[in-house]
Amino acid sequence: MSILINKDTKVLVQGITGKSGSLQTKAMLDAGTNIVAGVTPGKGGQEVYGIPVYNFVAEAKAQHDFDAVICFVPPRVAKDSCFEAIDAGVKLLVLTTEEIALHDVVEIIAYAKAHGTTLIGPGCAGVIAPGVCKVGAHPIRFFQKGSVGIVSKSGALSYEIGKTLTDNGIGQSSVVAIGGGPIWGFTQRDAVELYEKDPETKVIVLLGEIGGGSEEAAAAYIKAHVTKPVVSLIVGRNAPAGKRSEPPGGVVSCNLDTATTKIAALEDAGVHVVKNPVELVEQVRQLLK
C-alpha cells in the first residue's frame, strides 16, 4: 500500500480548465490516476482530456463518486473552492495554490480539520504513489515503485531526491510534498505517522529545511513512536540569514531556527542524518538490506 492515495482513489480536479490545471490533469492521467470529473465555474459542460467539467463540486458529486480533490484555482478563490470540496465530504484535499492570504489558509485548515478532511498544502506539489496514482505535480519520470517513503516541504526537493533514488535503482512507496509553509494542513510529523503504519514502506526519508519548528516536531514524534529507520537531509546549512519573519519573540515560535538544532533533534531521535544526496542513497541502500 501507499499512504494517502491508492489504486482505488477517485479524483476531482478543481480549476481543471486552467493552464496549470489542464496540464497537470494530463500528467495525472498519464500516471494512472482515476480522474472522474473536473470543476471550473462557468465552464460546465466542457471536457478536458475526456474528463467532464462541472460548474460546482455538488453538481459533479451528483454524477460521480470521488474521495480526493486536487485544487489548482487562483489564490483569491482558494478558500471558497476548498470549502466547496470539504462540504462534498472528500477525504483528501490537495491544495497546490500559492500566495493565499494567511487568514484564508487558517480558515481552510480549521474547516478541513473540523470536517475530517486531510488537507495537503497549501502551495504544495501533493502526493504520488509511483506506478499507482498521483494527486499532485510530481513528474512520473523521476519515480519508481519501491519501499522508501519520502516527505518533503519543497516539491522540487522531493523530485530531486526521488530522482536520485530512482537513478540508483531504489524505488518509493509514496512521495509527499507538503508545501513551503509557514502553515501546513499536513505536516512532516503526519506523514511519518502514516509511513510508520504503511506495510509497504521500509525506510522513511524526511527532507527538511531551515526555518520553523516542524522538523523538531517530527523528531519528537519519531523518538516516541517510530520503529522504522528514518533518514533525513536538512538543506540550508549554508543559507544566508535574513528573510525570516520576526514573531513577537521566542514567546510563541519554537525559536529553533538553525540546521544545527534540527539535526541535533533528529539525531537524538535516532534518525540517520545525511549531508547530501550521495550519502542519502548509500544510507538508504544499507538500511534496505
Binding site: E98, P139, L157, E160, L207, V252, P277
Partner: protein, 373 residues
C-alpha cells in the same frame, strides 16, 4: 507590509481602538503641533528606539527644536528615521501587553501580559507565568471564557472596557488582514485602556486590504528621506552573497541543497536566486538579468532546474533569450530535467548550451571549472 507606528495607529483608529492624539511631522522646522509637554517619537522600522534615544519628552520650544533635529537625522540599528510622531503625554496607571499574531504560529494566537512596556521575549523567559497565550478559532473569535481568562490575567477592574478593547483588536486583526497586531504598552489611563504604541503587519496577500496598502504606500511618499524598497514584480527571491559562482534555482529547497553542495565543494556563492511559484520564460529572463547584472565578476553561473509545475521549454527559452541579447561570456552550468525536458534540452543545445542531468555532477563540473580558472 510592516507599518510605521503612525500608520499602525491610523489602522487602530479605523477600528475604533483608543489611541493618544498625535501628529506626524516630516520636517525638523515645523511649528510645535500641540501644547507642551508632548512626546516626540522616531518613526522607524525597528524596535528598541527608546533605548537609542528615539523617544523624547519635549517640555518647551528649545527642547522640541533640539530633539526634532536630533531624532529626524538619526539612524537606529541601521534604519533611517522617516518622520516624527508628536503625541500627547499620557500617564498610565498600569501598562499591559497585548498582541494577536500569525507569525511563527499556525493558529491566530493572542498573547497578553500584565507586564507591559517591556520586551515581551524577556518577560516570557524570566516570568513565564506572567504570560497568557490563547489560540483564537477563526470561525468563533475569542470565546467569553477566554476573555474572562484574560481579565483575570491582567487583573483589570473594568472588565467591560477590556472586553470592548479585545473585540476591537480582534476585528482589527481579522478584518485588517493582519499578521500581527501588537500593543505594547496597552496603557490604563484614567481607568480606560489606550493603545499607547502599535505594531501592525498586514498580509501582502490579503486581497481585501489591497486598497488600504496602496493608500499607505501613497501616504509614505510625504515622509522625510523615505525611499520605497524595491519590489520584484515577479515571485523571484534574490539574495546577494559574496563569492565566485552565482546560483539560480527553480525551487527554494533545491536551491538550498545546491548552496550546501557548492559550499561543501569549497566554492563561495555570490548570489542566491530562486524563481518562485509563477515561473515563465520572462521570469527566467529576469532571474538571469538580476544575477548577471549584480555579479559582474562571477566566474560561473549554476542554474538548477527540476520541473514539476515548471516547464523546461519555458526555462530554456528565457535563459537563451537573455544570453543571446547580452552576449554572456561567463560559463553557465545548467541542470535541466522534468516537465518538457526534451524540448528544453533541445532549445539549449540549439543555442550551444550543454545541460546536465544529475545535480551532484553539475556541482562537480562547476567546481572543477572554477578551480581551473
Amino acid at each position: 507590509m510592516n507599518l510605521f507606528e503612525f500608520e499602525g495607529k491610523q489602522m487602530m483608529r479605523r477600528f475604533d481602538i483608543p489611541v493618544p492624539q498625535s501628529h506626524l511631522l516630516v520636517r525638523d522646522d515645523a511649528p510645535a503641533p500641540m501644547d507642551y509637554p508632548f512626546v516626540l517619537k522616531a518613526q522607524v522600522m525597528t524596535g528598541g528606539r527608546g533605548k537609542a534615544g528615539g523617544v523624547k519628552v519635549c517640555r518647551n520650544e528649545e527642547e522640541y527644536r533640539q530633539y526634532a533635529r536630533d531624532i529626524l537625522h538619526m539612524q537606529i540599528k541601521g534604519h533611517n528615521v522617516h518622520g516624527l510622531l508628536a503625541e500627547e503625554m499620557m500617564q498610565a496607571e498600569k501598562e499591559f501587553y497585548l498582541s494577536i499574531t500569525l507569525q511563527g504560529v499556525s493558529v491566530p494566537t493572542l498573547i497578553v501580559s500584565a507586564m507591559g512596556g517591556m520586551d515581551i521575549e524577556q518577560v516570557s523567559k524570566e516570568h513565564p507565568q506572567e504570560i497568557l497565550k490563547l489560540e483564537i478559532d477563526p470561525f468563533t473569535g475569542l470565546k467569553d471564557y477566554q476573555k474572562k481568562m484574560i481579565a483575570r490575567q491582567l487583573g483589570v477592574a473594568d472588565e467591560q472596557d477590556l472586553y470592548a478593547m479585545l473585540d476591537k483588536v480582534q476585528k482589527a486583526f481579522f478584518d485588517g488582514g493582519a499578521l500581527l497586531v501588537e500593543i505594547n504598552p496597552l496603557g490604563l489611563v484614567n481607568g480606560k485602556l489606550v493603545a499607547m504604541d502599535s505594531k501592525f503587519v498586514i498580509d501582502d496577500h490579503a486581497a481585501s486590504m489591497a486598497a488600504v496598502r496602496q493608500e499607505l504606500e501613497n501616504g509614505r511618499e510625504a515622509l522625510y528621506a523615505y525611499t520605497a524598497p524595491e519590489k520584484e514584480a515577479t515571485t523571484i527571491t534574490y539574495v546577494p552573497l559574496s563569492g565566485d559562482v552565482a546560483m539560480i534555482s527553480d525551487g527554494a529547497g533545491t536551491g538550498m541543497l545546491t548552496l550546501d553542495l557548492l559550499y561543501d565543494a569549497g566554492l563561495q556563492v555570490s548570489s542566491f536566486c530562486e524563481l518562485g511559484g509563477m515561473t515563465s520564460a520572462e521570469v527566467m529572463y529576469r532571474a538571469m538579468q538580476l544575477t548577471v547584472e549584480n555579479n559582474p565578476d562571477v566566474k560561473a553561473i549554476i542554474v538548477v532546474l527540476i520541473g514539476g509545475f515548471n516547464r523546461m521549454d519555458n526555462m530554456a527559452a528565457g535563459l537563451t533569450k537573455y544570453c543571446e541579447e547580452h552576449k554572456i561570456n561567463v560559463p553557465i552550468f545548467c541542470r535541466m530535467c522534468g516537465t518538457m525536458e526534451e524540448e528544453g534540452i533541445r532549445i539549449m543545445k540549439e543555442h550551444g548550451f550543454a545541460t546536465y542531468n544529475v545535480l551532484t555532477e553539475t556541482v562537480e563540473a562547476i567546481a572543477k571549472a572554477v578551480k581551473e580558472v
